[in-house]
Symmetry: C2
Subunit: 342 residues, 2 copies
Amino acid sequence: MTNDATLPHGGAALIGLDWGTSSLRAFRFDAAGQVQQMRHRPWGIMNLPAAADGQAHATPAAAFEHAFDDVCGDWLQAQTGTPVLACGMVGSAQGWREATYLEAPTSLDHLAQGLTVVQHAAGHQVHIVPGLLQRGELPNVMRGEETQVLGVMATSALPDDATVLIGLPGTHSKWVLARRRSIAQFHTFMTGEVFAALRGHTILGRTMQAAEAPDDAAFARGLQVARSEDASLGLLSHIFSTRTLGLTGALPGTAQADYLSGLLIGHEVAALAAQQAPGNPPAHVVLCGEPDLCRRYALALAAYGLPAPEMADNATARGLWQIATAAALVAPTDPRSTEAAR
Amino acid sequence: MTNDATLPHGGAALIGLDWGTSSLRAFRFDAAGQVQQMRHRPWGIMNLPAAADGQAHATPAAAFEHAFDDVCGDWLQAQTGTPVLACGMVGSAQGWREATYLEAPTSLDHLAQGLTVVQHAAGHQVHIVPGLLQRGELPNVMRGEETQVLGVMATSALPDDATVLIGLPGTHSKWVLARRRSIAQFHTFMTGEVFAALRGHTILGRTMQAAEAPDDAAFARGLQVARSEDASLGLLSHIFSTRTLGLTGALPGTAQADYLSGLLIGHEVAALAAQQAPGNPPAHVVLCGEPDLCRRYALALAAYGLPAPEMADNATARGLWQIATAAALVAPTDPRSTEAAR
C-alpha cells in the first residue's frame, strides 16, 4: 500500500470510504482485496470543504460531492464504474444520506443486503453501510464500528463459531461480542469524550500540566482506585481526587491527566468485567484503535483479570472489503479472496 | 432582615462574609446574632472588581480590599472595630490570604481557634475560617461548607450527640456526617460540574432542548437507571442513553437534560447509600442548597430508601455567628444567644 502514490490506476476493484465526523479516508482496492492506495482528508461530515468561491455549498449534497471528488474523483475518472462503499457517520441523519439502522444481533450478510445508495450528480453510485441499533432500556447505536468489527473478524484465525470480545477504544468506546460473520451485542462508554470534557471544561484541568511522556504509574494508580475498597464511592467522587491529590502534594500536575485517564478507563473496564459471566471471562479479546490508547486498555484489562488482547489494525479497510464481497459489489479474482484482505 | 435597607447602623456585633468563587455575600449581625442586613455582590475571588481607572489593581490584595470596601466599608465606617469573619474560597491559595486546612474530624472550637487574620490597609482585621482536609487514599477538602454545616447543626433540635447526614448539593456536592459542634467525615461528588460539562461540551448537549418546566418524570427515569439491573454498566455507559433514547424517539429533546440530571444524581445517591451501614441508614438527613435542586435530591433519597430530608436555609450566616461566638469575636448579649441565629 502507498499513501497517494503514483501507481498506475488500472485494476481497481473497489473504492472504500471511511467517512466519520472529523475525517475522511479513502482506500483503493485491487481485485484481490489488497489496498493499493490510501488517502486521508480532513473532510469529516462536520467539516466539509467550502465551495470554490469560499462560500458554503448551495446544498449539503454538493458539499459531500465536493469532498468525494477531492478524495477519489480521479480514481473514478481513471476507471469509470468502480463500485464505491462507504461506512461511518456519512450515513447518519447529518450525513450525505441517512442509512437506516439494522437491529443487532445481525450478520455480515444482512449488512451487505442493507446498503443505502446515494446518487452522485456525476453519475457515480455510493453505497453506504447501515448502522446498528440494539434496542432495550438503554439502546445502543454504532456507525462505522460494525465495519471495523467485521474487518477484525475477517483476519481471525479462530473457528467461525468462536466468540470474540472486540474493544474499539476512543471518543465513544465500543465493546462488541462478535463471531466471524455476525455481531451479537455491544456496549458504548463515553470515556474519551468525558475525559476531554473534564480536562477541558472543569476545575480538574486547571492544575494539569503537560507531561513529556505517558505516566504509566499515574495511570495504574487511577486504575487501582476504580477497583479499591473505595470503588463504591463511584466515578463522580473518584474524579475529585485528581484535584485533592494535587492539593496535598501527592500527585504532580504532570501526572494528573494520566491519573484521570486511569480512573475513567478503570471504570469502563470494571463495568465491562461485570458484564462477563462470573468465572468465565471471554476467551478471546481484540483491541482496535490508536496504539498508545490500546496499550493503556491492555493494562486495564490485565488489572481486571481479562485476557491479554490481540491488537488489530487496518480493520476498516478489511471490513469494507468483506461487506463489498458479501454484497457482490466486487467479484473476487479467486475463491479465497474474501479473506485476501487479511 | 432587610436587603441593604436603611436601618440605622448602630448595634452591629459582627460582619460575616460568605466569599466564594463566583460571588460575595455580606451579613450584618446584631448582638443577639440576628442578621440585620444582607448584601450580595458579584465579587467572587475569580471575579474581583477593577480599579477606578478600569485597569487591574496593582496587587491582588488591593482588589480584595476594593471588593471588601464595596460590600461592607460603610458598615465599618459607621461602627469602627466591628469584628469581621469570612468563610469560603477567600481562604484558598487563590484567595485574599491562604487559611490552612484543619484535618477532619474536627470541632467548632478547633475551627474557631484556627482563624487566619488578614490585615486590611485601612486597619480592619478580617478573620478567615479554615478549610477542612480529610486525608486518605482519596483526600477530600472543603472551604465554606464547614461553616454551612455548623450553621445547619446550630438550628437542630436534636440532642448534641445525634449524628446527622447533611447534603450540600451543587457544583461539587458535599455529604457530611456531623454532630452539633463537630464534623466527623465527608465526601465530595462533582455532580453539578460534570452535568454542566456534559451538557455544554459533549454530544449529549446537542440534542437537548430547553424545557418550560422541570420534567420530574424524565428525572425519575434517569434515577431508575442508576439502580436498575443495568446499574453495573456504570455511569460512562448510562449517560450515552441520553442520546440513544433521543435517537430512538423514546426521550424528547426537552426531557434529555432532566434525564441526564437524574442519571448523575442517581449515581451520586447510589454511592452515598452504599456508604451507609447495611440495614442502618442515617436517622437524620438535612439538605441545604438551591430549593429546586434540593427537591430533586429529596426524590433521589426516597428512591434509595434514605430518610426524607429536612431542608435548611441561611446556614452560612448561622455558621459564621457560631464560629464568631466560639472564637470570642462577639460577646453575645444573652447566654442563649449562641443559638440565637436559629
